[in-house]
């Protein structure tokens, strides 16, 4: 089994788009005029970086057997619409026990000045 603990993926840039934020806010029943919803981090932090893990042949994550088990976000501040952010994904741990694989995937998001904005930590469980 491929274990890729410690692997860091190339930085991804993402712009906080007005229309996408409004669609996201409406989908969670929030008011688009309240600003960027906190869990829009699912898009700019986790969502921007996790396709690199899922597409990584070395990581060999079987998407069909994958379960998103836990999620944590830490925010230094909420982003504003129009900002361009940079997110870097990293496999914090990758372990197997009792036929299950546990992958902790962290994403760190910084703003245009390089200041920390958000950190995402996702735990994925992959059944074998």
């Amino acid at each position: 089994m491929a274990a890729v603990a410690g692997k860091t993926y190339p930085a991804v840039q993402i712009e906080i788009d007005t229309e996408r934020v409004a669609d996201f806010a409406r989908a969670i029943g929030s008011n688009p005029s309240d600003g960027v919803p906190p869990t829009f981090a699912a898009v700019y932090s986790l969502g921007a970086t996790v396709p690199q893990l899922f597409g990584d042949q070395d990581a060999a994550v079987d998407f069909a057997r994958l379960l998103h088990a836990e999620q944590e976000f830490e925010w230094q501040r909420q982003p504003r619409v129009g900002e361009t952010l940079t997110s870097v994904g990293r496999v914090a741990s990758d372990t197997s026990r009792r036929g299950m694989r546990f992958v902790t995937f962290e994403s760190e998001t910084t703003d245009a000045d390089g200041a920390a904005l958000c950190k995402s930590r996702a735990l994925f469980v992959i059944r074998s």
């Binding site: 996408r20 029943g29 906190p38 898009v43 969502g47 379960l67 944590e72 976000f73 909420q78």
Partner: protein, 117 residues
Amino acid sequence: MTERRVTFSPEQIAAYAEASGDHNPIHLDDGFARSVGLPGVIAHGMLQMGILATVAAEAAGGPDNLRRMSVRFAGMVVPGDTVTFRATPDGEGKLELSAVNQRGEAVLTKAAADYTP
């Protein structure tokens, strides 16, 4: 205590898939979902977390005050399920969070948030 009750629909789940970019067919295609052993399409865990975060943000006095939030995705939510999302003060700058379906089952567990009071 801040609370919101939501009855999930296939339309809301599809809208979340579109807005979030998570197009996993287990959320969109009943036939595919059944083929992998699910009862049919299920809501995104991140959709549940998103709704709970809006409740947490309201309890925290606004989204800018939220500093941290964590959940465990413990139970499936299918269209027609009604989930009660709740944030309860739990000491200075802390919120205890919960999401419980119409049968009294917690669909999110280990849910908590920190905020700047």
